[in-house]
Every structure is written in structure tokens, then in C-alpha cells.
């Protein structure tokens, strides 16, 4: 199925909201309000009990709509959903988000039966369906927003696309990203995925120019969808990074182990193999997931494995050396020509061996001179700047210079800062200038590793 069809979910010109209501605290009200607030297209509330809701003309039934809506959002009790979907099909509607729960997830026969009806209707009328039992779509660019979680802050417009198997986690993450000012393009939670699933959405976001980094929360793919996932992910990862958090890592008890291999092939180990084969980056924890998202948003590809550390704190330099080495990075011994140059520009008590230690009496000028030398060299693949702002001479003026350097040299430059308000302020400034900042050497090394592994994967497969 082509992803062109999915455009109607994200850029519709008209939307019908089945189950819109003026009643406070209801899902149908929250969704209608979302659309009124941000959506620029035509909005049609549908509810048999009203002629008008929140100042909009309300339609008593779907048949009465003045046009076939590009998108329908359905938030009515489960037993009425099949007939609503059928009427939408008759009307010519091609995309529906079914928010309502009460289907297969209930574990009841009735629920499964209703869900099967939806599958048949969607096939018969050729309607693409997201849901049921989902929170749907939050599109930061078009204003499509079916996230009925009213207390969730909306993140700023940006470039992270998020596909989530969990609606509650999608909500929490959007809220978190709003708080941390990470920009989002589109977020989708697909619930029972009777039609549109992870693979379709991955393909869509892969082609979406508002999405630069794709994040996925996956519990499990649909049966037999693994191969198409790998195929799609392989194409997408050459264009943009795909980061997956796989939940349900502990081994599945259910699989009858018919052999040695079967006993060892836990669900998770098979998923990991698939991620690796498709160039997908696996984040193993929540912290890692967000660290990796940030580094990918800000940093260019890393073309090799050689890292230089510039620090004003010897101890943190050693911590970083450990963390980076553990993650397979090379911290080259400063070559003789660079050593000469560094000795010329630095006072004699500074350490010119990598990690290069500017020591506690450093000022911004020292950073600028050293970073200038490093950024220009072909044998430097990434630079880690440790800027503990507690030292008296550091004003932070080197940060803007750093941003300029990063653009010119087109290599990753990341930073580490630890401390209280003064450190937060440094971190903020760094971030504003496109330098990814970490508080922990281990998390920095971990995120940089994801960037390196992805970069090497892309470089290798671009050549192939």
C-alpha cells in the first residue's frame, strides 16, 4: 500500500469529528477544541443531538455532510463505530482515525467481532484506518490533533517524528519534550492497528520532509510484518536516523522451545538482529533514547572513530577517556605536529596530550585557539568539549565561536558540563548554538556511539 494515502491523516483539507460534543471533559469535546485551535481546514462536528457546537454547525448524521471529508475522527461508543465507518465509506471518505476503545483489546468475543467488522468495512470501502483504541495523530505542522489528553503540553514545532505503540507513553513523551523544548513534527499512536501499522508509518515519516529523526516505541510488530519492516527501515535509515525503543525485552515464556535454537531465540534477540540488519539504532533505556534523539537532531555524521577531548578539568577528562574507550572510540595520542602547534599557543602548564587539558586557569581564548586547530584537522572525527563553568576565567564567549566552527568543519562537536545554575546556563547557551550537551560522561559516550555506528552504517551502505 502506498504511503501517499496516509497524507490524508496528516494534511487533510477537511475533517469530520464523529462524536463531537460540547460536554466538558469528554473526548469528543477535547478533540474538537484541538482542531478549532490549530487546524486551518474545514471542520465538521457530527452528533445527532446538536445543531451547533462551539460555534460550528453540527451535522446530525454523516450523510448530511456537505462534502466527503478527507479525514474522519471517530470517538463514539464501540457498538456504533462499524455503522459510522460504513456511512463514511458510502460518503467517499478514505481515512479514519478511530479513537474509540471496546474492541479486541477487551479480550471479549463481542469486542473481537466488532473489530472484525471494522476490518471488513475498511477493506470494502478502501478506507485507511488508524486505530481503533488509540490516541491517534498529533501533527505539529498541519494542526491535526486527536490527542484528547488536554493536560498534555504540546511540544514546539520541529523535526522529531514519533511512532508509538502506547498512547499513554506518546502523551507523556510529548509533554516531556514540550518541557525540554525538543521540537516535534508528527506523533502517532495506532492502538490495535487493524490497518495502518508501524511499517506504514515508518515509510510515511521516511518520506516526510518535516521529519529528520524518527523515534519508535515498539512492543511487537504484527505477525509476518518483520520482513517489510526490515525492507522499509533499510530504505529510511539511509535518509534519516531511526531510533527504536523496544519494550518487552525479557524473554517470552510462551514460545514452546522445540529446539536448542528456539529456546535461545527470545523475542528480543531476534528484534535486535533485525534492527542491526536495517541500520536501526536501538536505544536501551529512556535516557539513552532521548540522548540519542538530541545528538541526531544537532550533529552531522561522524566520519571515523577518532575523538579529541578538550577540557578544563583533568578528572573529567579521565572519566571521558574511560567512557569513550569502553564504547570503542579511539582517543589518538596527539601527533607531533599538533603537539608543536599546541605548545606554541598554550602556557607550559597545560597538557597537550589528548585529552587536552587547558586547566583551571583557562579563559575563553584558550578554548577558541585549541578548538580552531582541532576542527581543521582531517584526523579528528569528533570533538568533545568539557566546559566546567566554575573556573573563574571562563565567560562562555567561546560558545558562539564553537557554533561557527561546527558549521565550517562539519563534524560532531558535543559538550559536557556539570554543576548548578551556572552550568545550566552554559548548557542552555551550548544547546542554542547547536552543540549537544550532556551532564554525564557515560551518557555522552553512549550517545556519540549511536551517532558513530549510524554514520558508519550509512557511509558503508551509500557506497554499496
Amino acid at each position: 500500500m502506498s504511503s501517499e494515502k496516509l497524507l490524508e491523516f496528516f494534511q487533510p483539507e477537511s475533517v469530520a469529528i464523529i462524536g463531537a460534543t460540547p460536554k466538558e471533559g469528554k473526548v469528543g469535546r477535547a478533540i474538537l477544541e484541538n482542531f478549532i485551535k490549530k487546524f486551518k481546514g474545514r471542520i465538521y462536528p457530527v452528533n445527532p443531538q446538536y445543531d451547533e457546537i462551539l460555534g460550528l454547525k453540527c451535522y446530525r448524521n454523516i450523510k448530511d455532510l456537505p462534502e466527503s471529508p478527507d479525514l474522519a475522527v471517530i470517538a463514539i461508543p464501540a457498538q456504533h463505530v462499524p455503522s459510522a465507518l460504513m456511512e463514511l465509506g458510502e460518503k467517499g471518505c478514505k481515512a479514519a482515525i478511530i479513537i474509540s476503545g471496546g474492541f479486541r483489546e477487551t479480550g471479549t468475543q463481542e469486542g473481537a467481532k466488532l473489530e472484525n467488522e471494522l476490518v471488513e468495512i475498511s477493506k470494502k470501502y478502501n478506507i485507511r484506518v488508524i486505530g481503533p483504541n488509540c490516541i491517534g495523530v498529533f501533527d505539529n505542522w498541519s494542526g491535526v490533533d486527536t490527542f484528547f489528553t488536554t493536560k498534555m503540553r504540546r511540544p514546539p514545532r520541529g523535526y522529531v517524528g514519533f511512532i508509538s505503540q502506547s498512547g499513554a507513553f506518546a502523551t507523556a513523551l510529548m509533554d516531556w519534550m514540550a518541557y525540554h523544548e525538543i521540537g516535534v513534527s508528527r506523533a502517532i499512536s495506532y492502538g490495535n492497528k487493524i490497518d495502518v501499522d508501524d511499517v506504514d508509518l515508518l515509510e510515511f515519516l521516511g518520506e516526510d520532509d518535516k521529519t529528520r529523526v524518527i523515534l519508535m516505541y515498539v512492543e511487537g510488530l504484527k505477525e509476518n510484518r518483520g520482513k517489510s519492516f526490515i525492507e522499509t527501515a533499510r530504505k529510511v535509515t539511509l535518509k534519516k536516523p531511526v531510533i527504536v525503543y523496544k519494550a518487552g525485552k525479557t524473554s517470552r515464556g510462551g514460545r514452546a522451545a522445540s529446539s536448542h535454537t528456539a529456546a535461545l531465540a527470545g523475542d528480543y534477540s531476534v528484534y535486535r538482529a533485525a534492527f542491526k540488519q536495517a541500520g536501526v539504532i536501538e536505544a536501551e533505556s529512556f535516557d539513552e533514547m532521548m540522548d540519542v534523539v538530541r545528538i541526531f537532531l544537532d550533529q552531522p555524521l561522524m566520519r571515523g572513530n577518532r575523538v579529541y577531548v578538550v577540557t578544563d578539568a583533568g578528572g573529567v577528562g579521565v572519566m571521558l577517556t574511560d567512557a569513550l574507550t569502553k564504547n570503542g572510540f579511539e582517543l589518538p595520542i596527539t601527533p607531533p605536529d599538533l603537539k608543536e602547534q599546541l605548545k606554541r599557543i598554550l602556557p607550559p602548564h597545560c597538557i597537550v596530550e589528548n585529552p587536552i587539558d587547558l586547566t583551571g586557569d583557562t579563559d575563553d581564548e584558550r578554548y577558541i585557539r585549541v578548538l580552531d586547530l582541532l576542527a581543521k584537522r582531517d584526523d579528528v572525527d569528533a570533538i568533545v568539549v568539557v566546559a566546567l563553568p566554575q573556573v573563574p576565567g571562563l565567560k562562555g564567549t567561546f560558545i558562539e565561536y564553537l557554533a561557527k566552527l561546527k558549521k565550517e568543519c562539519n563534524k560532531p562537536i558535543v559538550a559536557l558540563t556539570i554543576g548548578s545554575e551556572v552550568s545550566m546556563e552554559t548548557a542552555r547557551k551550548l544547546r542554542e548554538n547547536g552543540i549537544t550537551v550532556f551532564e554525564s560522561p557515560e551518557r555522552l559516550a553512549n550517545a556519540l556511539k549511536a551517532l558513530r555506528d549510524y554514520s558508519l552504517y550509512v557511509i558503508k551502505h551509500m557506497v554499496d
Partner: protein
């Protein structure tokens, strides 16, 4: 016999585990190196074929009803000539018959004992989501205790297979250890690729274990092959 025919036979007889000689034959069809093996039914047959197989020679009873072969006297190792072989076959048939009187006996498989080398495991299993999946690991405690194995989704290329081999934590052991020569990674990778193909082309197979595969400095040999079919196939 073609793999298709072997699988159909087993399913027709309601067996989900293939017998040793059947599994060997399928592996061989895909070019997976296995010991030269024959199935014999009588001491006379064994006597006539033993020289061709070579020594030291191994005998194992083949029966869909016997899982623990040695418990019923169904395993003989280290036989050195055809006289010993025919005598051992005679004895084995007798012992097995008395200890497992109701077991169906397909015959006795005999093959040349493989010289020692580095024991590794190659396996394959069918996953609900990803389909055919292959596995590699080192034998013994590396798999049993440390679960130090790697996986790939089929199809796998030779490069993928080599990557799998180098990916396990204890991979350095393959490079030679305590005076052992390095194991032939290419030969192992070749077996992984062929196992993947075997699994992809025979959808009825649920899982396959080549355990152990003995790796040498040149070549590798799958000395035990187990193939399990999916239940409810027809």
C-alpha cells in the same frame, strides 16, 4: 531423496521430528558438510559398508520413539573394523529390542567419527514476525550458560554470517586459543548461509539445530543435525 519428499513422508507418518538420516540428507542437499553416513538394518549390511565409511566408526539407533539413545543401548562409539561393526550392530538390535520393545526401529545409522576441533552451534528457527531466523554460537558452556549467541533474519549473505560469527562476546576463541589453530570462519559462515536457505525454502520446518558443528583450521562438519517440523502441517 529430495527434501520435499522427506518432509512429506514424515508428515504423512505424523512425525514432527525428522530421523537422523533424514536430517543429514536434507543438510547434504543444501551442501552443508556432514559425515558420510548410511542407514543399515542388518549386521550383514553393516559389515559390507563399514570399510567404505571408515574408522573409528559410530553407530546410533534410529527410531521415532527413542529420544535417549544411550539409555537403551542405542549408541556405540570408536569401532575399529568391520568385524567389530557387525558384532556391535547385532548386539545393539538385541538390546534395544529388549529395553524398548514397542519402539519402531528405522535402522542404525553409521558414520565415521569426526576428529576433534572447535565445537560451534548453527541453528535456525521460524519466528512469527520475522520468518526464518538463523543463530550462531560456540558450543558447550558458551551457549548453555552464557547464552553467547548471535542472530540474523534470513536471507543472510556470507558477509552477514561472518559478522554474526565475529559478533559473539567470545569470538576471540575462534582465532585460536591455547595452541589451537584458528577456526575456519568462512566454512562456518558458509554453513550459516546454507542453513538460512534451507529454512527459507522449506516452510514446514520449524527449527533446525546443527549441534555441534566441528570447526577445523580448514573446513567444518555438522556432526549432528536435528530438524523439527511445524505441527499441523499438511
Amino acid at each position: 531423496m529430495m527434501p520435499r519428499k522427506i518432509i512429506e513422508n514424515a508428515l504423512n507418518e505424523n512425525r514432527t521430528k525428522l530421523l537422523e538420516h533424514e536430517a543429514f540428507e536434507i543438510a547434504k542437499y543444501y551442501g552443508i558438510p556432514t559425515p558420510n553416513a548410511v542407514l543399515v538394518k542388518t549386521p550383514e549390511e553393516a559389515y559390507d559398508l563399514a570399510d567404505k565409511i571408515g574408522y573409528p566408526l559410530v553407530l546410533k539407533i534410529v527410531s521415532p520413539d527413542i529420544t535417549h539413545k544411550s539409555d537403551v543401548g542405542g549408541v556405540k562409539l570408536g569401532l575399529k573394523n568391520k568385524e567389530e561393526v557387525s558384532e556391535a550392530v547385532k548386539e545393539m538390535l538385541k538390546t534395544v529390542q529388549s529395553r524398548a520393545p514397542n519402539a519402531r526401529i528405522a535402522g542404525i545409522i553409521m558414520y565415521k567419527m569426526a576428529p576433534p576441533g572447535l565445537e560451534v552451534i548453527v541453528g535456525g528457527v521460524r519466528d512469527d514476525v520475522f520468518g526464518a531466523v538463523v543463530m550462531f554460537g560456540l558450543g558447550g558452556i558458551f551457549v548453555e550458560v552464557l547464552r553467547d549467541v548471535s542472530f540474523r533474519i534470513s536471507p543472510v549473505s556470507l558477509d552477514d554470517a561472518l559478522e554474526m560469527i565475529n559478533e559473539i562476546k567470545s569470538a576471540t576463541i575462534l582465532n585460536g586459543f591455547r595452541g589451537q589453530p584458528p577456526a575456519d570462519k568462512h566454512a562456518i559462515a558458509d554453513i550459516i548461509v546454507k542453513t538460512s536457505k534451507l529454512l527459507m525454502e522449506n516452510q514446514e520446518i520449524e527449527s533446525i539445530d546443527l549441534n555441534p558443528v566441528i570447526a577445523y583450521s580448514q573446513g567444518a562438519l555438522a556432526v549432528d543435525v536435528r530438524i523439527v517440523l511445524k505441527r499441523g502441517n499438511k
